[in-house]
């Protein structure tokens, strides 16, 4: 889904006004930047379902909370569209904006600082349970720091270096978090978490 070339606003804005349902991301972005609402709506419809799923997993929250973060994500992303280059796919870029919005939401809600999210303390363990659960529920039960790294690495396919950049942590910290996250996740999946905790 990588787009090619720099954004060419004047040329592509005309395409945007013609409502390009099948247009490329680059064309839609350029048209949306120039104020074409139809192009923005198409971009929104194309990328929001994945963004919403990603944000919901990262937050481990209800879809209503996640929708607030998705709205915040688009409000942050729109002014930055002009800076988007083809270094990554638009979906990946949008998810990185969504991740920052989700991090801010978690920090606001739980008064975490950036470092505290990835602290290795007992309070980051999920509540004890003996019930087996599906993977989606297990991910949602993880502590925020564990959950973010697990989702980024195992679900979205980011490398530890990329996760480090996104979360402002060292790649080694990301590896350590992933190791612990998988351990807790396995315990939750098999119902052994109570004994492990």
């Amino acid at each position: 889904m990588a787009i090619s070339g720099q954004v060419q606003i004047p040329e592509l804005s005309r395409i945007g006004e013609a409502l390009p349902a099948g247009g490329s991301d680059a064309a839609l972005i350029a048209a949306a930047v120039s104020g074409a609402e139809a192009a923005f709506r198409e971009l929104f419809r194309r990328h929001t379902p994945h963004l919403l799923q990603f944000v919901t997993r990262v937050l481990g929250a209800s879809s209503a909370d996640a929708e607030d973060v998705v709205q915040d994500t688009w409000l942050r992303a729109y002014p930055a569209l002009v800076t988007f280059r083809n270094e990554s796919s638009f979906s990946t870029w949008l998810c990185s904006v969504g991740l920052r919005a989700a991090l801010d939401s978690i920090r606001r809600g739980r008064r975490h600082t950036a470092g505290e999210l990835f602290d290795d303390d007992a309070s980051s363990d999920p509540p004890p349970t003996e019930d087996r659960m599906d993977l989606e529920s297990a991910i949602a039960r993880l502590a925020p720091g564990y959950r973010m790294v697990l989702v980024l690495h195992d679900v979205e396919g980011f490398t530890h270096e990329e996760i480090g950049v996104q979360l402002g942590i060292a790649p080694g910290t990301s590896k350590a978090q992933l190791f612990k996250a998988r351990r807790v996740m396995r315990a939750l999946l098999t119902g052994r978490e109570k004994n492990d905790a």
Partner: protein, 121 residues
């Protein structure tokens, strides 16, 4: 330190992860909420267009002001020389209303006098 090999996902776990849902459909109102919020901030729709139009108007006004300034400057530069030029075009003794003294003869050529006379006729 942990052993990285112990941490690797098993084949079953990889299948579980790959079968996770990739998309979640948003509610019907989310798109409208986002579009309205972007309009409020002047990013989309009418406000964006009016901002562009305002920019064009400012550019046109600046161009007109520049042109008018050029005209005014041109007039100012030319006007101080005008009395001397007029006096130079007049025959000796007829330039009394200029700031040139009537006692000092104004050097004029015969061609200039002829041209000026033709204009009067």
């Amino acid at each position: 330190m942990h052993n990285d090999n112990d941490c690797e996902l098993t084949a079953d776990e990889q299948v579980m992860f790959s079968s996770l849902r990739r998309e979640l459909q948003p509610g019907d109102l989310l798109e409208e909420r986002v579009v309205r919020a972007l309009r409020r901030e002047g990013h989309l729709g009418a406000r964006k267009r009016s901002a562009r139009r305002r920019g064009q108007l400012v550019r046109i006004a600046a161009a007109i002001a520049l042109f008018a300034g050029g005209v005014a400057t041109g007039r100012y530069v030319i006007t101080p020389d005008a009395p001397q030029a007029a006096a130079a075009a007049l025959p000796a003794g007829m330039a009394g209303d200029t700031n040139q003294s009537s006692e000092t003869p104004i050097p004029v050529s015969g061609e200039l006098i002829v041209a000026e006379t033709e204009l009067w006729l």
